[in-house]
């Protein structure tokens, strides 16, 4: 049914349609509206046969989900930013135990400095934790990815993280097609666990594993993620058949035919990038976009095929692996490795801590990539003036004070004269 609805509310309704049996709720901006919405659906009787548990921390949220999942219940939780870090130990544990929990991540920056706005640092911090990570471009896709996530998780017995941009998606009111219950029931079978705590058939789960089998356990986790590459594609196709729209999949191409320049990005920023590409195409520039939906497993082969013909690849990402550069760019580099006549790779970090990624800035960036390529990581719209002054001060003065506060003071007194 078409609704004019907040992204979080729509996601809550979609998750409820998947009939989760245990939901663990702990507030953290910008994810909170999702668990609030679910709480209401449980309390007002829309979502039945569901235990809604207000836990005392994110660590407990995922731990409760772990217990529920191991006992055979369909379990769901949501978090963001610091919350994901606080549950980090349980994030690895859930995947290591092979428990098909679905978790929404309302993507948000990680402190310090504390920042509630959107970027992808939180998702990146857990990129190697053994979860499937799917990035939604729109709220419609966020809704659809949750339905696909439960099926994917349970088929593979592996947890799935649905990553949605905080505020940009979670708090946006827009037109969303929320599926009907019979549609979802027909598409998503009940949870049939591969392992379950059952007194009639007692098993031990979570034993210590030494060097004799640890490598094999990890190999099988990796193997399952390579299987997920196929399943994600299959399920996206099935989903399109059943629900009548394209959502999910490993990656998506936009105006890539004969493109000299290909942009690679994830999440909601792809909307802005598409607008820029349309404008540049109108100007006769052969440019296109590859949207990565599945960041884990990373679609290396599919991406390589897609990028092979381009001269320049520009990766725009909302995270920075401090000391290395952009993590997505590094993964894209991996896809280009060993490619004969590989395109040049240009890495840009943008939108950190919620900084708007504007069309003019993207125009400049994409032009620069082919005419005046840069080395290393480019920070889009970096305020070089205040950064330069801070570096100068710290060189001159031993007790130069806290960096973040120094920058804010400069901005307040000297203005944002970039």
């Amino acid at each position: 049914m078409l609704k004019q609805i907040e992204g979080s509310k729509a996601m809550a309704e979609a998750i409820a349609l998947c009939r989760p049996e245990v939901i663990c709720a702990y507030p953290i901006t910008p994810q909170t509206h999702i668990v609030e919405g679910l709480g209401e659906l449980v309390k007002d009787g829309h979502l039945t046969d569901c235990e809604y548990i207000n836990v005392e921390s994110e660590f407990a949220a995922l731990s409760v989900a772990i217990g529920a999942s191991a006992a055979g219940a369909r379990a769901y939780t949501a978090t963001a930013s610091q919350g994901l870090l606080y549950m980090a130990e349980a994030v690895y544990n859930a995947s290591g135990l092979g428990l098909p929990i679905v978790m929404t991540l309302g993507n948000r920056a990680i402190g310090a400095p504390i920042n509630i706005w959107n970027d992808h640092s939180d998702a990146m911090s857990m990129r190697d934790a053994g979860w499937i990570q799917l990035f939604a471009e729109t709220n419609q896709e966020a809704v659809d990815l949750h339905i696909q996530a439960f099926k994917l998780a349970e088929e593979l017995s592996m947890p799935v993280m649905v990553c949605v941009d905080g505020f940009i998606l979670t708090h946006a009111m827009e037109r969303i097609d929320v599926p009907e219950q019979p549609q979802v029931d027909a598409w998503l079978p009940p949870y049939d666990p591969v392992q379950v705590l059952d007194p009639a058939e007692p098993i031990s789960i979570g034993a210590m594993v030494g060097p004799e089998a640890f490598t094999e356990v990890r190999f099988l986790q990796h193997y399952k993620q390579t299987q997920a590459l196929r399943l994600i594609t299959d399920y996206a196709r099935d989903f399109e058949k059943a629900f009548g729209r394209e959502s999910g999949g490993l990656l998506r191409a936009y105006r890539v035919d004969d493109a000299d320049v290909l942009v690679v990005a994830m999440g909601s920023v792809c909307g802005t990038i598409k607008d820029v590409i349309d404008e540049m195409r109108d100007e006769g520039i052969a440019i296109g976009l590859v949207t990565i939906v599945s960041y884990r497993p990373f679609p290396t082969d599919e991406l390589r095929k897609m990028l092979a013909g381009a001269q320049d690849v520009v990766v725009v990402e909302k995270s920075i692996a401090v000391g290395v550069g952009g993590p997505l760019a590094n993964n894209v580099d991996m896809a280009l490795r060993n490619l004969p006549d590989a395109p040049r790779l240009h890495s840009a970090v943008a939108g950190l801590g919620g900084r708007p990624i504007t069309k003019p800035s993207l125009h400049r960036l994409f032009r620069q990539a082919s005419v005046q390529p840069w080395e290393g990581t480019h920070f889009l719209d970096l305020n070089e003036r205040i950064v330069g002054r801070e570096i100068h001060t710290t060189r001159k003065k031993r007790r130069s004070g806290p960096t973040a506060e120094n920058l804010l003071r400069r901005l307040a007194t000297e203005g944002d004269a970039r």
């Binding site: 217990g67 191991a70 059952d198 007194p199 009639a200 007692p202 031990s204």
Partner: protein, 345 residues
């Protein structure tokens, strides 16, 4: 695609215990009436923690765990799931491909056993199953790193019995101090060197008291030295729903520096000197206190353990022995542990 499984009633998969008697009453209790016998004396006990585990000789925790889980399994008709925190008990019971557990058992992390148990209980409730849930861990996993999850489980009154096997330190990692380590005790992180060797006074916490402050339906302390009392408490705990907490004093021969044959003796002395009060509380009020049968000075307890040896080294008596005795005396007064003392409790 779900293939037909052979379905068994809860507990049917558990092996029946065999007693190998050699003409003696080795299992005990055979002279008392049927209804007074302990669960441990019954051939029908589930032997939840069966032989073959890797616990040290004389391990109080292995004993406490089998006593407690056997009693819980009898109380629940073996329809039960156990959640285990990381620690000695987890490591020594599941050296895969072997497991000593005769019931469904899951280990997730060090600090989340209470929360995982909440999840299991929620799953049982939503599936309309009567299966009960017990979480268990050592004192480190309970009073320190698992404390937040424990308190959350308590305040939500989740239907979980949490059992803490208290051996007063991080024994699995090599005997470090926990918030349950008694003052003056030597551990690897409170070494017996310097002006005040051992653990400092004025630190630590009583999680049973904190549990009582959550007003949960049932809280008890117990000891491996009193099997009947322990089994009665576990049985009682399983007869009610909601959050329940039992903390069992389980001596650790390795960590305490004691003889492995002294485990029960030490557990008894800990109670009889007053250092480890044994009580029960319901809904925030203490309802029962186990009286001291034969009061002993704290030195009787301390002298049998190398972790307190530094207290008895010098020519003069260490004043900290008197402080430990004062703690015992305060417990005796506060809880009314000696008959004839304040009987209000």
């Amino acid at each position: 695609m779900s293939e037909a499984r052979e379905t068994l009633a809860p507990g049917e998969a558990v092996q029946r215990l065999k007693f190998y008697q050699k003409g003696t009453f080795t299992v005990g209790n055979r002279l008392v009436g049927e209804d007074e016998r302990s669960v441990q004396a019954s051939q029908d006990r589930s032997n939840a923690l069966t032989c073959g585990h890797r616990a040290c000789q004389g391990c109080g925790e292995a004993l406490g765990a089998r006593y407690a889980i056997d009693a819980a399994m009898r109380a629940t008709g073996k329809d039960m799931i156990a959640v285990n925190a990381t620690g000695c008990l987890e490591v020594f019971t599941t050296p895969y491909p072997e497991t000593s557990w005769q019931l469904p058992w899951v280990h997730s992390l060090f600090g989340n056993a209470a929360a995982v148990a909440t999840g299991v209980a929620a799953a049982m409730r939503v599936k309309n199953k009567r299966t009960r849930v017990v979480a268990q861990g050592g004192d480190g996993g309970t009073t320190d790193i698992g404390f937040q999850c424990l308190s959350g489980m308590f305040e939500r009154n989740d239907d979980v019995l949490y059992i803490c096997y208290d051996n007063e330190g991080y024994m699995n990692t090599g005997v470090q101090r926990s918030s349950a380590t008694p003052p003056a005790a030597r551990t690897a992180t409170t070494p017996a060197v310097g002006d005040e060797p051992g653990n400092v006074f004025g630190t630590g916490k009583s999680v049973p008291k904190i549990a009582v402050a959550h007003n949960i339906p049932y809280v008890a302390t117990a000891t491996v030295a009193d099997l009947h009392d322990l089994e009665r408490k576990v049985t009682k705990a399983m007869s009610v729903h909601g959050a329940r907490y039992i903390q069992i004093n389980v001596p650790c021969p390795l960590g305490w520096g004691a003889a492995s044959h002294d485990t029960i003796h030490l557990a008894r002395l800990a109670v009889e000197c007053g250092l480890y009060p044994i009580f029960e509380a319901e809904h925030g009020r203490i309802t029962h206190v186990r009286k001291i049968r034969k009061q002993v000075p704290v030195t009787d307890y301390l002298k049998r353990q190398r972790r307190f040896a530094h207290l008895f080294k010098g020519d003069r008596p260490d004043p900290r022995v008197a402080r430990l005795q004062a703690m015992c005396d305060a417990n005796i007064a506060d809880y009314g542990l000696v008959a004839g003392a304040d009987e209000e409790v």
